[in-house]
């Protein structure tokens, strides 16, 4: 198919990716007054703005139409083909003729090159030889939400220009771009990405999954936007400087354990902390790592924590990492820990919780049979009390009751909307929920951060559970715990926030939920019917009572009632005297 060369004749203007590129040039051009080499310049939309920056412009392209246009506008040009980058850059060097290189521009051209990696390498050497000039690129984002949604619908619409230009041979995600640049030795120094909430791929109009007004469209956009900040980026517009070539850091370690256990500590409970560690060291299943998240812990407490961990057998202590966390509330350490974690799943065991020996094994068993789902097991609750004057003075606390299981063994989402029924140690979420879907613990919540995450995770992952007790959640009669460290109004406000957040966007409900909802609606209907019956009965009784009172009032107003008053007083006196002699008579009287 012959393409019309004029299709790339775009104008420069505010609010275009060209303006973003020129803004980067103005900040990062290497030499004032130097030459900007615009590779794959097309019609040179940025030529005049570059000159307005006090820089010289050299357009390079193999397409005659654009070159002719640029010449007509009085611009310096070079006809050359990036298919032979070494030769081309030698020609560019000749064209520079000793003038300093200010920057290299590649605007929407890299994706057209089969040899994009080679070109970046050649440019890297060229820039190094020419005074370490920056490279400014504009590259279409193939992970724009519109493309993702259309792929979901089985659509891949190539177009003459735009995100899916028919002549594109390379497709860049942000990670792909980073990898290509790092491999060639280009290091990002600035970005002014060009965003479009609706790209040129936002068609056909009215497509349910694409339209932000539809529930599905909104849901898909929410998922994509949470996953990474590139959902609405149309073009990556970025500036790079040449440096040493490097490989992309490995995204996942080679040996990832099943579980990363996040242990929050402020260093205030060293005696329960050692019990938490002990219960982890004793796990039947060792397929886990522990991240001890020291939240605003001072140096001496941190040293004590390190010492405590170091005293354990290396088979355990070598699986424990200490991570410092500064600032923020209860959620901050968990998000920091999740970012550091290597496990396929994440769970929380606070520094006063203890696990039973099967905790990790039970969670892993569920995850193996239900991959990708939240896994949930039972947690027993045990009330503890502090004993400041205990004889060995250190471990001043003890249980006041046996462990009990007030939390249902089976997960019920509807009941969880009402109140959290799963302590943090009772569930583990796939780490992918955090790394791929951008979910995490809400740092704006002072409490209920675990409930909030569980409700979101339950929607996106579903919940697999097993009726086994895996951990003890300790509640404290005296001393610090979240239940006492925060005022009631904070709990109420946080609860309202959690529910409001959940309700602010479409919420995916798993299989079986409609049946559950139907059952709940029927139960409510039954209760309403019973209540209505009770109210009718109460109304009838009230009517009878009113009538009786009216009759009594009539009677008291009558002449005979007033005349018999002395007799009634005497009768009451005699009855009192009888009750004093015979208490049982009193009981009978009261019963009557």
């Amino acid at each position: 198919m012959t393409e019309d060369p004029l299709r790339y004749h775009f104008a420069f203007g505010e609010g275009t990716p060209y303006a973003h590129a020129v803004a980067l040039l103005s900040e990062h051009a290497a030499v004032p007054g130097g030459v900007v080499v615009d590779l794959g310049c097309g019609f040179g939309a940025v030529a005049e703005p570059v000159r307005e920056l006090g820089l010289e412009y050299l357009g390079v392209d193999s397409e005659p139409a654009g070159i002719k246009d640029l010449v007509g506008r009085g611009m310096e040009v070079l006809v050359g083909d990036l298919g032979r980058p070494e030769e081309l850059m030698a020609e560019v060097a000749g064209a520079l003729g000793g003038r300093p290189l200010a920057a290299i521009l590649m605007l929407d051209s890299l994706e057209h090159l089969p040899n994009a990696y080679d070109v970046l390498g050649v440019l890297h050497r060229f820039a190094g030889e020419q005074g370490r000039a920056p490279l400014v690129v504009s590259i279409p984002n193939v992970t724009h939400v519109d493309l993702g949604v259309k792929l979901l619908l089985g659509r891949f619409d190539m177009t003459p220009t735009g995100l899916l230009d028919r002549t594109h041979v390379r497709f860049f995600s942000e990670a792909g771009l980073d990898e290509a640049m790092w491999a060639a030795g280009w290091f990002e120094v600035a970005r002014k990405d060009f965003e479009m909430s609706q790209s040129d791929q936002h068609f056909p109009a009215g497509t349910v999954a694409l339209e932000p007004a539809s529930s599905l469209g909104q849901f898909l956009r929410e998922v994509r936007a949470s996953a990474s900040p590139t959902a609405f980026i149309n073009q990556f517009v970025r500036a790079y400087l040449p440096g040493p070539a490097s490989r992309t850091p490995s995204a996942t370690p080679e040996q990832e354990p099943f579980l990363s256990v996040l242990v929050r500590t402020q260093g205030k409970r060293p005696h329960t902390f050692v019990e938490t560690l002990l219960s982890l060291a004793a796990q039947e299943c060792a397929d886990f790592e522990v991240l001890v998240l020291c939240h605003d812990v001072d140096a001496s407490e941190r040293a004590r924590i390190e010492e405590t961990i170091g005293e354990f057998h290396p088979a355990f202590s070598e699986r424990v990492r200490v991570v410092d966390v500064c600032g923020g509330g209860r959620s901050r350490p968990l998000n920091v820990g999740a970012a550091e974690a290597a496990g396929r799943y994440l769970s929380v065991l606070d520094d006063d919780d203890v696990a039973l020996g099967t905790w990790v094994g039970e969670l892993r068993g569920l995850a193996e049979t239900h991959p990708g789902m939240v896994v949930r097991i039972g947690v027993a609750e045990q009330w503890m009390k502090e004993l400041p004057g205990a004889w060995d003075s250190e471990a001043g606390y003890e249980p006041v009751d046996r462990p009990r299981c007030p939390y249902p063994m089976t997960f019920d989402l509807l009941e969880h909307f009402q109140e959290n029924q799963t302590p943090p140690s009772g569930f583990a979420v796939p780490r992918s929920l955090v790394t791929d879907l951008g979910q995490g613990w809400d740092e704006s919540l002072p409490v209920y951060e675990d409930w909030d995450l569980l409700l979101r995770a339950a929607s996106l992952c579903g919940v697999a559970d097993a009726p086994v007790v895996g951990a003890l959640y300790r509640r404290w009669r005296v001393g610090e715990s979240s239940k006492t460290a925060h005022a009631d109004h904070e709990w109420l406000a946080a609860k309202a926030t959690v529910l409001s957040k959940i309700d602010s966007a479409p919420y995916l409900l798993g299989r079986g939920f409609v049946g559950r909802l139907h059952l709940a609606a029927n139960e409510r209907s039954d209760l309403e019917n019973r209540l209505a019956g009770t109210e009718a009965l109460a109304a009838a009784l009230n009517t009878l009572l009113s009538e009786a009172r009216a009759q009594i009032a009539d009677l008291r107003g009558s002449t005979s009632w007033r005349l018999t008053s002395p007799i009634r007083r005497a009768g009451r006196f005699l009855a009192t005297a009888r009750r004093r002699r015979h208490p049982t008579a009193q009981s009978r009287q009261e019963a009557i």
Partner: protein, 324 residues
């Protein structure tokens, strides 16, 4: 005693390794475990933990010579490579490791008493193989024995704490749980250790403790001496109990009052077992009646009731109950 062999012939204890150079100024320690059908993973974890605790206590100068004695009541030897195990444990944690495959199930009391036969150390740690010792377990336990009136000290079990009460200021408690207790050798010598003729599996520790108290020793609970004991809870939060636990607990409910001069209580408990709807408990009752008919009742101790406590179905005051 055989030296350095891998022989696991019943009744022929094997010394798996020894370190001749060891401090003689500090109290020496013997750690005893009796295995019965324990998993290899569980045994490994238990040994790793107690070895770590022993090595730390030795580094801190709390104990000197340390010996690990493992008895095995399992139908087949539990240790696949005892020699390798001995080599790995001799040095930092222990000076010597002994493995004694009994070839028969001696129970808790019998197994420990068999291992006690050659007790030459100052202190004895009785430890269950389904435990995981905290690194400072031995440091904490031995600290209690600085008081010469204390003969036995027990550890704090987590995550499921024993409900037995202790004096909050002094630590005194009615008896020490055999899952993890440290006793002076004098106490063992004075009492003869556990009584395997009367107790097989449970309440041998209650009896041992009460006889130690009759001999004048105090028994304390040390909350900072933590040990993980691998207990399970049902979905109702109730302790999971095996048939063996039910059987021997029921037996002890009669045997202990017999021994400690409370025949009326023993009779009442025995009748309860006979009236039970549970065939296992009725079987226990029949065996006890036979023993009674044959005059095989234990010698009655503590007629004045100075140490023996019978509080409801328990042998001490409890802080809370697992039964409700």
């Amino acid at each position: 005693m055989a030296r350095g062999g891998e022989d696991t012939t019943p009744g022929e204890p094997a010394l798996l390794g020894a370190n001749p150079a060891s401090s003689v100024d500090l109290p020496s320690l013997r750690v005893q475990l009796v295995l019965y059908r324990n998993s290899q993973g569980g045994i490994d974890r238990c040994l790793q933990a107690i070895a770590t605790a022993s090595a730390l206590a030795r580094r801190r100068g709390v104990i000197g010579r340390a010996v690990l004695a493992i008895g095995d009541s399992s139908p087949q030897p539990s240790l696949t490579d005892p020699k390798k195990l001995g080599d790995s444990l001799v040095g930092g944690p222990f000076d010597a490791v002994n493995y004694d495959y009994f070839g028969t199930n001696l129970g808790h009391a019998g197994g420990h008493n068999r291992l006690l036969g050659d007790l030459a150390e100052d202190l004895l740690l009785v430890l269950n193989p389904d435990t995981y010792a905290s690194p400072r377990l031995l440091i904490e336990l031995t600290a209690s024995l600085a008081d010469p009136t204390i003969g036995i000290v027990e550890g704090r079990q987590i995550p499921i704490e024993h409900p037995k009460a202790h004096h909050l200021e002094l630590g005194d408690t009615g008896w020490a749980c055999g899952a993890c207790l440290l006793a002076r050798a004098e106490v063992v010598r004075a009492t003869g250790g556990f009584d395997p003729d009367l107790f097989f599996l449970y309440c041998d520790d209650v009896d041992f403790s009460w006889r130690a108290r009759l001999a004048g020793w105090r028994i304390v609970h040390r909350p900072t001496a933590r040990v993980f004991h691998d207990k399970r809870l049902t979905p109702d939060g109730v302790l999971e109990v095996t048939d063996a636990e039910r059987r021997y607990a029921a037996e002890a409910a009669v045997l202990l009052p017999w021994r400690y001069s409370r025949p009326e209580l023993a009779e009442r408990n025995l009748q309860s077992l006979e009236d039970s709807g549970d065939s296992l408990l009725r079987g226990v009752a029949r065996e006890l009646r036979d023993r009674q008919r044959l005059g095989q009742l234990p010698e009655a101790l503590d007629p004045a009731g100075t140490v023996a406590e019978f509080v409801g179905d328990n042998f001490a005051e409890h802080r809370f109950s697992y039964d409700d």
